[in-house]
């Protein structure tokens, strides 16, 4: 066994796939009772996922964001946590069907990796950086759910406009509820990302002066943040809801996903 972290992660992965299967049965066959099984395996999976991340930290003595695999695993962990929170608040099973394929994939990626050489040198791997990455990933997880709810909103809106109830009409949550899911996850995501940006900016400013601002990956991160800022404003200040807001959620998440991909490791300016 190469690592206990990976071992527990594989158990979590197995449980997530059981959960995904039951969620699919629940939603496709419309058997609400099956969801209890899905929820149980997902929750137990999340527990082992936490154990896995704990083991990883204990083994490497560094934050679990040192490689692509660890990042994928932590992202999946946070998405599952946010999903459970949203489920607890809204009770819509169909969200799981959209969320869990991605969680499954990220966990799968995470479980492939034996610890490789870490991206971050220990000297750079300060706990401040860990906080910054963790906040970003939490924001990313919450905004992922915002994005999913946005997509579901657009699908359900089309179903209702078409006036011909088809499969989705019967299975997706009501429009206003999807709007509320977007609203609440956006709030959490936006706060986390903003705090992450603040922590990162302060830390970078104190270590690398001002050069980092022109780094394209950083610019992308700020651009994404600007999209979400606009979305927050249109929602909170102007009170915009509905389709436009859903498009914002999708655009913002595209930016966020891109940022996640280009910022997997240490930023370019951090090389000594």
């Amino acid at each position: 066994m190469d690592s206990w972290g990976v071992f527990w992660l594989r158990i979590a992965l197995a449980l997530y796939s059981v959960g995904l299967w039951h969620a699919l049965v629940t939603v496709v066959q419309q058997r609400p009772k099956t969801f209890l099984a899905a929820l149980t395996s997902i929750s137990v999976g999340l527990f082992f996922h936490a154990v896995s991340i704990g083991a990883e930290i204990w083994q490497t003595g560094a934050p679990p964001v040192g490689s692509l695999y660890e990042m994928a695993s932590l992202t999946a962990f946070l998405i599952t946590s946010v999903f459970l929170w949203v489920y607890w608040r809204f009770r819509y099973e169909s969200v799981a069907v959209f969320v869990f394929p991605i969680v499954f994939l990220l966990t799968l990626v995470g479980s492939l990796g034996a610890p490789l050489q870490p991206w971050l040198q220990h000297s750079v791997g300060s706990w401040w950086l860990w906080v910054h990455v963790a906040l970003f990933l939490l924001g990313f997880a919450a905004l992922f759910i915002t994005f999913i709810a946005g997509v579901m909103y657009l699908i359900q809106e089309r179903e209702l406009k078409s006036k011909k109830p088809r499969a989705f009409y019967y299975r997706l949550p009501p429009l206003r509820k999807l709007d509320q899911v977007q609203h609440q996850t956006l709030a959490v995501g936006f706060v986390a990302v903003t705090l992450g940006l603040v922590v990162a900016s302060v830390y970078a400013a104190s270590h690398w002066g001002r050069n980092w601002i022109v780094d394209p990956t950083i610019a992308l991160a700020f651009a994404t943040w600007a999209i979400y800022l606009a979305m927050m404003f249109s929602r909170l200040a102007a009170g915009w809801r509905g389709r436009k807001s859903a498009y914002f959620a999708i655009a913002g998440f595209c930016g966020a996903a891109l940022t996640w991909i280009v910022n997997r490791g240490a930023h370019g300016f951090m090389q000594p």
Partner: protein
């Protein structure tokens, strides 16, 4: 034991035949008592609704019961049995139980999944209970039917999708808004249809009702009915940007709400959905409004279309419900037959034990004085022998319990062991 059902329903008989079989409400108990009093009939229950009339009886002899039932229909109920023969259906035993379960679960209803039928079956059960005509297996059967109906309702979506137009409007409102608590509803044109829809919406939690009508008095009348507010026509547009649901049913020849008028409303609402239900013919709401953001226009045909799609969904769910029914029929048959063979089993055991004791007594004088150990040994040997002899007939009776030939087998066992009715 056998269960027999004679009945007619919307599927087999037109209303002019059904109505002549229906029970007059005030004589329901008297009639079921008369039925149960007919020879060969042990228990009886009569279900009578506007869509069906079912006569259920339990007897110990199937043929006898059927002729008794027919005599009852002729002589007590004065129903035209002979003319109605082509419309009558007849179910016995397993099929009868299945029929009761399907009826109670609303699988045989005109609108599959409608909930009233279960209440009607319960009423029939209560009436028969009052009249003292159910007390044994038929009681078990009907209580089982209630349980099956509950299971079907809980485990399938058979009753979930709305199939009547005014309920479809409520269901659509749920699909748009989630819960309807605190929803504001505007009624344009105070007709009968809009009244029904408004009533459903209010029942589902809608809070505030505004009524706009050409004659203000009628608006006020309806507003008092719903504890709403009558509003004059010139405030219509102000209300449109405020409310969540609009129900329109005026007699106006043209559109009351046009796309031009609603476009500014759409942007003023900032993406808050507006659900417009147009139940007027000719239509009140320009269907083009549906293309505006977050505006959903449903006219009477659209609602009908949703109702039909829902009915199709219900039929899909009905397949699953049929499986549940079949499963439960097996269970209840097994239980009832088990219940029916139990007296025979007990009697068999008692007879054999009596035989055993009698034989021991008969030979006691020849055996002389016995030590307690010997006494015990004889007791053990004879007990074991009796148990072994009884073993096969008992297990066979139990396992044949669900089988159509179960009754005959019990008769054979009774004959072999000479078990007389006590």
């Amino acid at each position: 034991m056998s269960v027999l059902i004679l009945g007619l329903s919307h599927k087999t008989a037109p209303v002019e035949v059904r109505e002549r079989f229906a029970l007059p409400g005030d004589r329901a108990e008297a009639l079921v008592a008369l039925l149960a009093g007919r020879p060969g009939i042990e228990e009886a229950c009569i279900l009578s609704t506007c869509n069906r009339v079912e006569f259920m009886v339990r007897s110990d002899d199937a043929h006898d019961a059927e002729s008794s039932l027919l005599t009852f229909l002729n002589e007590d109920h004065h129903a035209p049995v002979l003319e109605a023969t082509p419309y009558l259906y007849r179910y016995a035993d397993r099929e009868a139980i299945r029929h009761i379960f399907r009826v109670a679960s609303s699988l045989d209803s005109m609108v599959v999944g409608e909930p009233q039928i279960l209440g009607q079956v319960k009423d029939a059960y209560q009436a028969a209970k009052q009249a003292g005509t159910i007390r044994g297996p038929l009681d078990q059967l009907l209580t089982a039917a209630f349980r099956v109906a509950r299971r079907v309702r809980n485990e399938t979506g058979i009753g979930q999708m709305a199939v009547s137009i005014s309920y479809v409007a409520v269901e659509l409102a749920r699909k748009i808004f989630g819960d309807l608590d605190g929803l504001q509803v505007l009624i344009i044109g105070a007709g009968k249809m809009s009244e029904a829809t408004a009533r459903h919406l209010q029942g589902a939690g809608a809070e505030r009702l505004y009524v706009v009508n050409r004659t203000f008095e009628r608006a006020q009348e309806m507003a008092t009915l719903f504890q709403g507010e009558a509003v004059s026509y010139d405030r219509l547009h102000e209300l449109l940007s405020k409310v969540d649901v609009v129900i329109s049913s005026t007699g106006a020849p043209g559109y009351v709400l046009t796309r031009e008028a609603l476009a500014p409303v759409a942007s003023a609402r900032r993406g808050r959905p507006l659900f417009l239900v147009d139940i007027a013919v000719p239509r009140d709401v320009d269907p083009d409004i549906n293309s505006l953001d977050e505006m959903f226009v449903y006219d009477i045909d659209d609602l009908q279309q949703v109702a039909e799609a829902n009915l199709k969904q219900r039929r899909k769910e009905a397949d699953l419900a049929e499986q549940i029914v079949d499963e439960e029929v097996d269970k209840v048959l097994h239980r009832i037959r088990g219940y029916m063979v139990k007296p025979t089993i007990v009697q068999l055991q008692q007879e054999l034990d009596a035989l055993r004791l009698a034989e021991i007594e008969r030979f006691r004088s020849k055996l002389g004085a016995l030590s307690p150990e010997q006494e015990q040994a004889i007791d053990g040997i004879t007990r074991g022998l009796v148990r072994k002899i009884a073993h096969t007939p008992i297990t066979e009776m139990k396992s044949m319990a669900g089988h159509p030939d179960g009754d005959r087998f019990v008769e054979i066992v009774k004959r072999i062991f000479n078990l007389r009715p006590r």
